[in-house]
């Protein structure tokens, strides 16, 4: 065991050693360690390199605010991740971590050449250079910049883990499990409120985990903590979530919590998600996030071994680790004195405490004297030394800094404290106002926009007693606001390490300002002089300063840098801090894996896949599928050796010569019922419906109020007051929503109701000269003759013994029927027809053949032959407009000037000069193929197929003034050469419609 680990001390399990590696070297840690505490216990401070200058960097903090100690962590293939904070990653047996942003190795990094050139690379240097020669940008400069960028290496294998999510509801959500948070949770929970308490740390306890001196309610702090946790754990109305970060505070008290479920385990159980996103809706929220210690800004403050004093105290008490053998403390706040005392008491040699203040509390002075620690009041740091780890610090009296040389003190750690910044990140997400507090020189919560309460150090209350009392009060207030009657007693505290301090900007030094490299943002290598440069260059808004220097934009989002950057910018501007203000806090509070956001939505469950009851049959028959909105539909059914072209040609041939069968179940269906049903449809669709006879159906066109086609479908009248409306596959929900909108808000007087019945029915389309022969024997209650059941009829009857809605309609031009049966019988009917169809030459066809067959007849597909700019007249559907109707949805728009313009694009047929040429869908049409670019395009091909029935290619196209161009030759310039085609009508096959009853 290393000499830096104090036997028996801390909350780590000394009986449970674990082995892990860092940069390939094996180390020992203890269960309960973080990677950072375990490395420090092994004397390792150097853990990474900074972003821009590749300067050696060590652990500075003990929490999620860590900017430096970022490592790559791997659990094997598919489980590698960059930029993990060593201060948050718990060690487990087998953990493998590597340092980042260095080459060839951490101790010797070629990238550190940038540090040598730092004078050439001030903030924003890239905006000023790399301008000439212009063509070097793409080829030389940018590739160079890119290569230098980034920290860790992105994973290269798909993630092997799963992620989960959960909604949760509670009366009181407490964020932060320090003394304030625990007291709040206890107060609220004891009153019966449903409470969730989340803390990002492995253990709930917050600063109490590093508090060994104080007594709460007469017990040692840790005993009180254990009791409080046990009480909370025992309550059914409480959910405790350690390892859970509140990442964002959204509207109306919705808070996102990211829980890390297995990252700390050596062997995660099967089926356990790696992380879980909780979407909590809380009646009241208590924010008890505590405070983050501020670094001091001085020349050389970024060397490994320079760390926050509070962090050193945490490593000592919580992990039993001395962060060094010989420490110097430099501070502007009392709290660092306590660290010095505790380290000294643990046997660390503390060379000196340098405080920037000229006076400090006498009790502190006595404490230092008692321990033989030298006290240097009114002192500043003028520099540090040591290449990969600090080995000395130079201290000088602040007044004499310019003249005196200062004293060099040898040390292996320098512990700093610039005071504490209340954590108000989540509060800021709510757009709650921050109010500047002159006394504490910090921002405190001001006006609230949500039902939240801020407690403890998070609102600038220092000290354990205050945190507990405030937590209890805020927890009670929250519970009361949620309708409970809490009691408000707070625990008593003895030995409270409360304290106070002052805040500083950059410490006074002895070098010229422009030669001082005092770091503000450690990760992004932003120095005080960068911030001053930005201000001088006109970046007078703090938002400009941030963006120009990138301060606060690193992975810690300025948790350490924010206040220092603001103070320096304000000083440079000569403006008061609150007038300059902070940059905006945004979610997530700490970087959060994409997986946690995606939750269950991956692979199969990324999105719904809707399948019809016939789908298993299609799959077994080797269908090739295509997605159509959320549905998957069989596109064609290839026989062995067939490609799509051959399969589709066969399916078309069979349908035209015998009978084809298709699963049309995905078509949307809406049941429109009520005495005013016909009137309603009359107003919605362009076509007239009032006089449609019972048992008849009609093709309907639906427009938007802007006059453009939205949907189409066949509408059958089942009874005077009942219609069966069909829509396109993708359009069903939209159409229903649109109809409901008109019905509920424009015409509430109409007595009609709409019900979605898409999935009630399986729809089997039979088309072809043998369709009737196949169907007839199976139908009861309806004769299928042309007289009894002509084209465009509908009937409720029985088919194959199932109650059915039978339509006689055709989307192919052949005699056609659509049989609707209740979905549970669909597959049975399908199989029955497939078997019975054998003797009639039945062939099953898919959507592709359907597209060809309908195109041969000039029937449009909404969304393919029309887009959102096409009117019924453009599409050749002028006949579907009820001329005598005074109004319908979209009618007024059809009279707008541009919709009656002469040169609108109209749907026409195109036949290529060479019948074997199948045009490309989307190909553009011109009159003169020899014009130079840019060419004047007059239209495009919307549908284009090989027509097996015609033995040639056919196409539909939208062409300017198309119907006036019949017989004209037009051109389609393609990369491989120009095609020519003649304009025709849209009906290529059986123009008289004789086959409908053949």
């Amino acid at each position: 065991m290393s000499a830096l680990r104090i036997p028996g001390k801390g909350r780590v399990d000394h009986a449970q050693p674990v082995r892990f590696t860092f940069d390939g070297k094996s180390y020992q840690g203890l269960a309960g360690d973080t990677l950072a505490s375990a490395l420090l216990a092994n004397g390792v401070h150097l853990v990474g390199r900074s972003f821009k200058y590749h300067r050696p960097r060590g652990v500075v903090s003990a929490g999620s605010e860590e900017p430096n100690a970022l490592v790559g962590v791997s659990r094997g293939s598919g489980r590698e991740e960059p930029n993990t904070r060593a201060t948050m990653q718990e060690v487990y047996d087998g953990l493998a971590a590597v340092s980042q942003n260095r080459w060839p190795c951490l101790h010797f990094d070629a990238g550190a050449g940038a540090d040598v050139l730092h004078r050439l690379l001030p903030a924003g240097f890239y905006y000023k250079t790399f301008l000439w020669p212009k063509r070097f940008w793409d080829r030389v400069y940018e590739p160079l910049i890119r290569r230098a960028a980034g920290l860790g290496v992105a994973p290269s294998e798909p993630d092997a883990d799963s992620y989960a999510s959960r909604y949760a509801h509670c009366d009181v959500l407490v964020v932060g499990g320090g003394p304030a948070g625990i007291a709040a949770a206890l107060a609220a929970a004891r009153s019966g409120a449903r409470v969730i308490l989340a803390d990002e740390q492995a253990e709930i306890g917050g600063s109490l985990l590093a508090e060994t001196g104080a007594r709460i309610d007469g017990q040692p702090a840790w005993d009180w903590l254990a009791a409080a946790r046990a009480e909370l754990e025992g309550m059914a109305n409480v959910r405790l979530l350690p390892r859970t970060t509140a990442i964002g505070y959204y509207h109306q008290n919705m808070v996102g919590l990211a829980e890390r479920v297995t990252d700390h385990l050596a062997a995660p159980p099967q089926h356990a998600p790696r992380e879980r996103m909780w979407r909590v809706r809380a009646g009241q929220v208590v924010l008890a996030q505590g405070a983050i210690e501020r670094p001091l800004v001085f020349h050389g403050n970024d060397r490994p071994g320079v760390m926050l004093a509070g962090a050193a105290r945490t490593y000592l008490h919580r992990y039993g680790v001395k962060v060094g053998e010989r420490a110097v403390v430099v501070t502007s706040h009392d709290s660092a004195w306590q660290t010095a005392f505790d380290l000294a008491d643990a046997g660390v040699s503390v060379a000196a405490i340098a405080d920037v203040r000229a006076e400090v509390d006498s009790a502190l002075l006595a404490g230092a004297q008692q321990r033989g620690i030298e006290i240097l009041l009114g002192h500043t740091v003028t520099g540090t030394s040591g290449r990969l780890r600090i080995n000395a610090v130079t201290l000088a009296a602040a007044e004499l800094v310019a003249t005196a040389a200062g004293r060099v003190l040898r040390c292996d750690v320098l512990l700093m404290s610039g005071g504490w910044t209340p954590s108000l990140h989540l509060f800021s997400h709510t757009q709650g106002r921050l109010a500047w507090d002159e006394a504490s020189q910090s921002f405190l919560p001001g006006e609230r926009t949500e039902d939240c309460h801020i407690a403890g150090a998070g609102r600038g209350l220092w000290g354990l007693g205050a945190a507990l009392a405030d937590g209890a009060a805020m927890g009670a207030a929250a519970a009361r606001a949620a309708g409970f009657s809490p009691d408000m007693s707070a625990p008593t505290v003895e030995g409270d390490p409360a304290g106070s301090g002052v805040t500083t900007t950059e410490l006074p030094g002895n070098r010229a300002a422009h030669n001082t490299r005092a770091f503000v943002d450690f990760q992004n290598d932003v120095t005080a002089k960068d911030i001053r440069l930005a201000v001088h260059e006109g970046m007078r808004s703090i938002e400009h300063v941030k963006r120009y220097t990138t301060t606060g934009m690193a992975t810690d989002q300025g948790k350490l840098a924010g206040m220092n950057a603001l103070a320096i910018a304000a000083e440079t501007l000569g403006a008061p801090l609150p007038a300059v203000g902070l940059t905006t806090f945004r979610p997530p509070y700490t970087p959060t894996t994409f997986g946690a956001f995606a939750g269950y939505h991956q692979g199969e469950t990324f999105d719904v896949t809707r399948k019809t009851p016939i789908d298993p049959w299609a799959e077994a028959s080797g269908a090739v599928f295509e997605p159509v909105s959320l549905w998957r539909r069989a596109r064609y059914f290839p026989k062995p050796g067939e490609d799509m072209h051959a399969a589709v040609a066969r399916e078309c041939r069979a349908t035209r010569s015998a009978v084809g069968m298709m699963d049309a179940s995905t078509l949307g269906k809406i049941e429109v019922v009520g005495p005013d049903a016909a009137e309603f449809l009359n107003r919605m669709y362009t076509n007239p419906f009032t006089r449609l006879g019972v048992g008849r159906c009609r093709y309907g066109v639906l427009l938007g109020e802007d006059g453009f086609i939205r949907d189409d479908g066949v509408i059958g009248r089942l009874a005077a007051d009942r219609f069966h409306v069909t829509t396109t596959t993708g359009g069903a929900p939209r159409v229903l929503n649109m109809m409901e909108d008109y019905l509920q808000t424009e015409w509430p007087d109409l007595r009609v109701w709409l019900t979605s019945t898409t999935e009630q029915w399986v729809t089997v389309a039979l088309n072809g000269p043998n369709a009737r022969r196949l169907l007839e024997p199976l139908v009861e209650g309806q004769a299928l003759t042309d007289e009894a059941f002509p084209h465009m009829s509908v009937s409720e009857c029985r088919v194959a013994g199932f109650s059915a809605r039978l339509f006689r309609v055709s989307f192919t031009g052949e005699m056609g029927f659509e049989v609707n049966v209740p979905a549970r019988h669909g597959l049975e009917l399908w199989e029955l027809l497939a078997a019975a169809g054998q003797e009639h030459g039945l062939c099953v066809y898919g959507t592709e053949a359907m597209h060809v067959l309908r195109a041969e007849k000039g029937f449009i597909i909404v969304g393919q032959d029309s887009d959102g700019t096409v009117t019924p007249d453009d599409a050749g559907l002028g006949w579907a407009i009820g001329r005598r109707k005074s109004d319908f949805v979209g009618k007024r728009s059809l009279a707008r000037p541009d919709l009656v313009a002469r040169n609108r694009k109209q749907l026409v047929g195109l036949v290529t000069h060479d019948p074997r040429t199948v045009l490309e869908e989307g190909a553009q049409i011109v009159e003169d193929p020899n014009q130079p670019l840019p060419m004047t395009m007059i239209g495009h091909v919307t549908s284009s197929y090989w027509s097996e029935a015609l033995g040639r290619s056919i196409a539909l196209a939208l062409v300017e003034g198309g119907r006036m161009r019949m017989g004209d030759m037009l051109y389609l310039p393609m990369p491989e050469g120009t095609h020519s085609a003649r304009v025709t009508g849209t009906v290529f096959y059986d123009p008289q419609g004789e086959r409908l009853s053949a």
Partner: protein, 173 residues
């Protein structure tokens, strides 16, 4: 249907199910035809014999009954069509029902349902969403829920439930 985990998931056989729409003024007539109450508050249920109703909207009820009774139910409503205009539409085959039961059922549902499911009273039902899918959720008992979902969405919902159920098994175990 099998799913491992603390919550038992059972796909119920198809039964008769109708969507009933009727105006305020005609509710009484409709209730008489139905032979059971049509509760006025959204979310409430009522039942008599095999027939039960759940109010889903100000003028909307879903009616459940046995398959044998379906025809009789339709005839009863047909008889009042003139006097009390309404829409009765068969949706027996549109939706499927899943029974979920077990002590962790609320946790399981909250993996996909944004509502506070614990606040749904016994015997009440709501239309809501699970993941992105519209569902009707009915509470039959303290630890028993019925979830009705359109047929083609069933596999998606089941896949999610099964996945989450396994996850609950880890937590519970």
């Amino acid at each position: 249907m099998t799913s491992e985990g603390p919550v038992r998931l059972t796909l119920l056989p198809e039964a008769a199910r109708f969507s009933l729409r009727v105006r305020q003024s005609d509710i009484a007539a409709a209730a008489r035809a139905f032979g059971a109450a049509l509760p006025a508050r959204i979310g409430q249920t009522a039942s008599a014999g095999p027939r039960s109703s759940l109010c889903l909207g100000p003028d909307e009820w879903v009616l459940h009954t046995s398959t044998d009774d379906a025809e009789a139910l339709q005839q009863a409503f047909a008889a009042i069509a003139g006097a009390a205009p309404h829409s009765l539409t068969d949706i027996s085959d549109r939706d499927r029902s899943i029974l979920l039961s077990g002590p962790l059922v609320e946790d399981l549902l909250s993996t996909g349902c944004p509502r506070d499911v614990s606040s749904i009273p016994l015997g009440a039902g709501v239309r809501t969403v699970f993941d992105t899918v519209q569902v009707v959720l009915i509470r039959d008992g303290v630890t028993d829920f019925r979830l009705e979902v359109a047929r083609s969405y069933l596999p998606h919902v089941m896949a999610l439930l099964a996945m989450a159920n396994l996850e609950l098994a880890v937590a519970a175990g």
